[in-house]
């Protein structure tokens, strides 16, 4: 037997999805261990091994590949706990990183807005005399004595990482390369990144910011990956380990360690891919994926089977210009703490009880009421069947916390208070869906919702109902959704080369050379990742614009060796068409210029195959495992509880009801129906209520 594993380290749980070569899947969850996340990873691996009656070593020896999503870098940025980093730039231009182009982001009409935090304080923004001009020519040589002075400051500040980003370095990287050479000797164990390697592209602030983040996140990520790889190997693993990237692809730990900035969305990045995979089974082309974890709620949009990718991103308020999936996150999850504010308003989150101490009902010392506590009081969760019974929840503790912090202050019964928490949490989450749909002018009713996260299906139907969405799909592996997406991802590397030239003076030779350069880089990276060229696909694109414009349109559809006039003409024609489509006009007589060449190189990975089942009849009574009281239509009602694992393809059931699996609970309100589809996933339809 051989196994493929997806591992997603979330804020509260470490999710693990195992596929065997017969197409069977199984799920393990272990509490995330923030201090050293690899402990949680190994705890989950041990569970997977013991379920198969294997020692961890015996199991790991049979594991062919692992794809791993990590929140190391995201947490480093969000909690300001990255490496102590120094930033080195051109003399006279000390503050471009922290000035942020003088933009007041956020609510422009709020004078009372706090200035943004700084990744690197001014005293560690250091400058070196050097200069390259707009033609890539050196106009001031690198003053090596300035590098030495910077080194002295960095020594006394005990820095752990260095980012180097000079003006125009993407045209002439000599000074950055030499600076690294000089510093490497003095700082052998310090993480150094260069803008000419991280993002060799025009626009200095965006390049600075991306490079600075790369260094800030690099050391914690590199040491984590190194330890994880070592421990896996010591425990018998000899397969391939890949790390999930923010662009929806994955990379080897070695490449990932150098380009940590590409993992800022590593955790949730599996979502859209999983969404597309599950959506295909019902021919859904437009999908909203929602993933409710312990601390956060992630929403991503897939339009026409394509996830939305952006190069203008922000993480924790810092700009990142590498391509990332567009995923919107709010602080609402099972662990989100509820309370009543000074104005007497009930609130939920964004503070979270996390994994430790966790919700009050975990009985680990948490005294604040959380969304999970409310779910328990409302009867949606079974105290004795949490994680399949692996953990017993303390109803009494949940009750006490809600009573003290919410029910008494608001003068409500405990159940009513729990319902209030449930509804406020739902409205926060539907607000997050609104941000990516309605606020962008998209009607959520034209999308299917794919629901992920252990707690997601408890809350999904009211969220969907609020937005007018009528179709939901809950994958059987819902609770480890991103881990599934990770297993389905390809190796992916993106490259860019600025190659500015007028359309009338195209130098096909130079274009060919630049494309070849990127291709060679991609192939050598893939070689490092033990991938052969037949598994590789290359997608080239060109950024074109009308002469004098400041922004480009990306045009695809050519290959290496195609640099002839016919292909060029085709690109120009496509450009005019795209320009009209996106911007409402084209200038067919206008001259076009080329700015950047890009390459997205994908390497196929061995993917698990899901099993498909024959449809049985609709009757689902056989799967009823009991009845319990739960909150529906403003009262506690006795409803059927179904065993999800016993439901068979084709079975149909009507709300109000509850469907339970070990790590997932689905709450099915009145006027909804759930059908188990031929892939074993759950399709929920919200029926029109009578008054509608």
């Amino acid at each position: 037997m051989s196994f493929k594993i997806g591992i997603d380290v979330g804020g509260t749980f470490t999710d693990l999805l195992v596929f065997d070569d017969a197409g069977n899947t199984s799920i393990c969850k272990a509490p995330t261990t923030p201090a050293d996340p690899s402990q949680g990873v190994f705890a989950a691996l041990q569970q997977a091994a013991s379920e198969r009656n294997l020692p961890t070593r015996g199991f790991l020896e049979q594991v062919e590949s692992i794809v791993h999503g990590t929140t190391i870098t995201t947490n480093a940025v969000l909690t300001a706990s990255g490496a102590r980093t120094a930033f080195i730039t051109t003399h006279g231009f000390r503050d471009l990183l922290n000035l942020r182009r003088g933009m007041k982001d956020g609510e422009r009409y709020d004078l009372q807005l706090a200035p943004p935090p700084q990744l690197i304080e001014r005293s560690l923004n250091l400058t070196v005399r050097e200069r390259v001009n707009a033609r890539g020519e050196q106009t001031i040589p690198l003053h090596e004595e300035d590098v030495a002075s910077a080194a002295a400051v960095m020594q006394s500040a005990n820095i752990e990482a260095i980012a180097i980003s000079y003006l125009w370095s993407f045209l002439n990287p000599e000074h950055e390369l030499r600076t690294r050479e000089l510093l490497e000797k003095e700082f052998p164990n310090v993480y150094i990144s260069l803008s000419c390697e991280v993002l060799p592209q025009i626009r200095v602030y965006e390049r600075h910011s991306t490079t600075a983040l790369n260094s800030y996140c690099g050391p914690p990520l590199a040491s984590y990956l190194q330890e994880l790889e070592q421990s896996l190997q010591q425990n018998g693993f000899s397969g391939t380990l890949n790390i999930m990237q923010s662009n929806g692809g994955c990379m080897s730990p070695k490449v990932t360690s150098r380009f940590s900035v590409n993992t800022l969305l590593s955790g949730p990045a599996g979502g859209p891919g999983a969404g597309i995979h599950y959506g295909k089974t019902h021919d859904y082309k437009n999908i909203i994926t929602v993933d409710m974890g312990g601390t956060s709620f992630d929403v991503a949009l897939v339009q026409n089977e394509t996830p939305v990718v952006s190069s203008e991103n922000e993480v924790g308020g810092f700009h990142v210009a590498v391509p990332m999936l567009d995923i919107h996150t709010v602080g609402a999850g099972g662990g989100s703490i509820a309370g009543v504010d000074s104005g007497g308003m009930l609130y939920v989150g964004p503070a979270s009880a996390g994994a430790d101490p966790g919700p009050a009902c975990y009985d680990r010392g948490g005294s604040e009421p959380t969304v999970t506590d409310a779910d328990l009081i409302l009867g949606y969760l079974d105290a004795d069947y949490f994680h399949g019974g692996a953990m017993t929840l303390n109803r009494e503790a949940a009750s006490r916390a809600i009573e003290k912090k919410v029910a008494i202050p608001l003068g409500l019964s405990i159940t009513e208070a729990a319902d209030g928490i449930y509804r406020v949490a739902n409205s926060i989450m539907s607000g997050a869906v609104t941000v990516v749909t309605v606020q962008r002018g998209l009607d959520p009713r034209e999308f299917a919702m794919i629901v992920a996260g252990g707690a997601g299906p408890i809350h999904a139907v009211p969220i969907a109902r609020e937005l007018g969405i009528r179709t939901l799909l809950v994958p059987r592996e819902s609770s480890v959704f991103c881990a599934a997406g990770m297993l389905l991802s390809d190796l992916k590397h993106t490259y860019v080369r600025t190659c500015a030239m007028l359309g009338s003076l195209v130098d096909f030779k130079l274009i060919g050379k630049r494309l070849q350069e990127m291709r060679d880089l991609a192939l050598s990276t893939f070689a490092d990742e033990n991938l052969t060229s037949e598994d590789v696909t290359m997608q080239y694109s060109a950024d074109l614009r009308y002469v004098g414009q400041f922004n480009e349109v990306e045009v695809t559809g050519f290959n290496l060796g195609d640099s002839n006039e016919q292909v060029w003409q085709q690109l120009i024609d496509d450009f005019h068409g795209l320009h009209d489509e996106r911007f409402g006009y084209a200038l067919p007589q206008g001259e076009v210029e080329l700015i950047n060449l890009r390459l997205v190189a994908s390497g196929k990975t061995g993917k698990p195959q899901a099993s498909r089942f024959a449809l049985k009849d609709e009757d689902a009574v056989h799967a009823i495992k009991g009845r319990r009281e739960a909150w529906f239509d403003n009262s506690m009602q006795l409803v059927d509880v179904y065993d999800g694992l016993a439901l068979q393809s084709g079975n149909l059931l009507l709300g109000p009801a509850i469907v339970e699996q070990p790590t997932t609970t689905i709450v099915l309100p009145t006027a909804t129906e759930l059908r188990c589809d031929e892939w074993g996933n759950y399709l929920i339809e919200i029926l029109r209520k009578k008054e509608e």
């Binding site: 471009l96 000035l99 606020q439 400041f550 922004n551 911007f583």
Partner: protein, 585 residues
């Protein structure tokens, strides 16, 4: 009448109107050839109904956005009964609905069921607008004709056919022909795109539901603004602010005088006592005066910051600005600098007036605008260039609770003006940047410190570059004031050093010619401080000294904190004893 339309539909329509404006804005941002649009985002896009009432708009740069309803009304009135599907209209004249001449409005009517139902508008600051100005600014103008080419409400396309003759006439009068031609097409693209999206929305909801929803959205916005205003204590609050001079009469400093009256859920901005109109180009128009009044009020914490900018939001406001004054000049006074000089003075007067009653909800003054607009031929690529040196932006004012934001000025843009990318700037213009970083001691001292200004310097690599150095804030009495006991920030300093070593100070509102080898350096004001500087903790002052934001001298003089440098460990420390002595004095 209460509409039957579902609240979810209203929310979707409201957001869809916003997103249509945003998409139109993206066209302006992504396809423009002038860095003033594409880098600095000095433009706006809007949707109006047929009346025309403003339904939604983008607010990249608040001052130009708030003036659009005047232009829409002017075009709709001028062509009433003579508007057809596929028409386009264009307008820049400040006495016919515009705020100042460099901002060109392009409008398109949207028809549904053969009825004129909506108007779309795109507006932006062009690289050149003819007349005697540089990038639209003419400090030497004595009248509207010297100021810029005057375009009344004109039909630019007739039933889908672009009127090339009209466009030719406009472009013939413009030096930066290529840039302006490209950007007029970009504005047309924006309204075309908006029309496609609006028609799709009409297709989905039908006109009846759509108009019911937008009426409800406007009313809801009005209710929110009134509720917020009602919380400001009633009363009359007066303040006045001056500018350096108007570019013609150098020894005279025009003054804006405001009496701000809060009456229940209504605010009256009474500018009656302001100076008579000037000879030079700093005169304001009514659209500009309204825009400044709105943005100064809406930016305060007193008004919810997530309200939408539609006609409902401004219903509770009244502007009193007698004709013939500096806030409402009589034709044909020149006006091209009204969005900056007089605009800043108006905003400051409003904030200072409100600071008398709700200081914790307003800001200390921000760094004003004073920097060169330049244009000429770039020998590196043989192309005409036109640009404004936005990299010299000053700092934001401090507020209760926070230091000011660095480099976000001028207040007329509220931090929405994006400094151009230095690399793209060097690629397009004949300038080499020499310096561009924070300058020590530019932030006004206070318990909360003003945001920092910058030192920006460049060398000219071409001859005969025309420069209009425009703006104000170079005198002590026009520097950014502090509030609630905070100190003012220092005034701007601008210097021109020629290749032969001679040098001169640059004044605002004057024309210059730059030649190869000239070096221009600008130190911009930071923002004013908030609260008594002696209330700032010595540790924060020490940190500012360590970061090079505050000098050892300013720490002692303004903050009464004695900082010494310990050379043995090359670090700063607080002399506790001396600091105690100074602070208790």
């Amino acid at each position: 009448m209460k509409s039957d339309i579902d609240p979810v539909d209203i929310a979707v329509i409201s957001a869809r109107m916003q997103s249509i404006c945003k998409e139109m804005g993206e066209t302006m941002l992504r396809t423009s050839r002038s860095p003033i649009f594409s880098e600095a985002r000095d433009f706006t896009t809007a949707v109006f109904d047929h009346k025309p009432e403003l339904l939604a708009q983008t607010i990249y740069i608040p001052d130009i956005a708030a003036a659009t309803p005047f232009a829409a009304k002017a075009v709709a009135e001028r062509f009433v009964g003579d508007v057809h599907e596929g028409d386009l209209f264009i307008l820049n004249d400040p006495y016919r609905g515009n705020n100042h001449p460099p901002d060109l409005n392009v409008m398109k009517p949207v028809f549904w069921d053969k009825q004129l139902r909506y108007w779309l508008l795109s507006k932006g600051h062009h690289a050149d607008m003819g007349g005697g100005g540089v990038v639209g600014y003419n400090p030497e103008a004595h009248d509207a004709w010297e100021d810029a080419l005057r375009i009344p409400c004109l039909r630019l396309a007739d039933r889908g056919v672009l009127r090339e003759d009209v466009l030719d006439f406009i472009l013939l009068n413009i030096r930066a022909r290529d840039l302006v031609e490209g950007d007029i097409h970009c504005q047309i693209g924006a309204v075309n795109l908006g029309e496609r999206r609006l028609l799709a929305l009409l297709e989905h909801y039908g006109y009846a539901d759509l108009s019911a929803a937008t009426a409800e959205i406007l009313d809801a916005t009005e209710r929110r603004v009134r509720a917020d205003i009602a919380k400001i204590p009633d009363g009359e609050y007066s303040a006045e602010r001056a500018i350096d001079h108007d570019g013609i009469e150098f020894d005279k400093s025009p003054v804006v005088r405001l009496c701000l009256k809060v009456q229940g859920d209504k605010v009256i901005f009474d500018y009656s006592d302001s100076d008579a109109q000037s000879i030079g180009y700093i005169n304001s128009t009514l659209p500009n005066t309204s825009a400044m009044s709105q943005l100064a009020l809406f930016s305060t914490h007193a008004i919810s910051n997530d309200i939408q900018f539609n006609d409902g939001a401004v219903r509770p406001l009244e502007i009193i600005a007698p004709e013939g004054t500096i806030v409402n000049a009589r034709e044909p006074a020149p006006t091209s600098c009204c969005t900056l000089c007089i605009g800043e003075a108006m905003i400051e007067a409003i904030w200072l007036a409100l600071a008398q009653v709700i200081p914790e909800q307003v800001s200390a003054m921000w760094g004003r605008w004073c920097a060169p607009a330049t244009m000429g031929m770039n020998p590196a690529n043989d192309r005409f260039f036109a640009d404004i040196h936005f990299m010299s932006k000053g700092g934001g004012g401090a507020v209760h609770g926070y230091d000011g934001w660095d480099h976000v000025g001028t207040p007329v843009t509220l931090g929405g003006l994006r400094a151009p990318d230095p690399e793209l700037h060097e690629l397009v213009t004949p300038y080499s940047l020499l310096e561009y970083e924070i300058e020590t001691d530019t932030g006004g001292a206070g318990e909360w410190r003003g945001g920092m200004g910058v030192r920006y310097a460049f060398q000219v690599e071409a001859d005969n570059v025309a420069c209009a150095n425009f703006g104000s804030g170079m005198r002590n009495f026009t520097a950014p004031e502090g509030i609630a006991g905070g100190e003012a920030a220092p005034a701007h300093r601008l210097n021109l050093e020629h290749a032969d070593g001679s040098s001169e100070e640059l004044d605002g509102n004057r024309m210059y010619t730059f030649n190869k080898g000239d070096r221009i350096s600008i130190v911009s004001s930071g923002g004013g401080g908030y609260g008594d500087p002696k209330q700032r903790s010595p540790e924060r002052v020490l940190r500012d000294v360590h970061d090079g934001l505050v000098s050892v001298e300013q720490a002692r003089l303004s903050y009464a904190v004695v900082v010494t440098k310990d050379d043995s460990v090359s670090a700063y420390t607080i002399d506790e004893e001396k600091t105690r002595g100074l602070r208790s004095a």
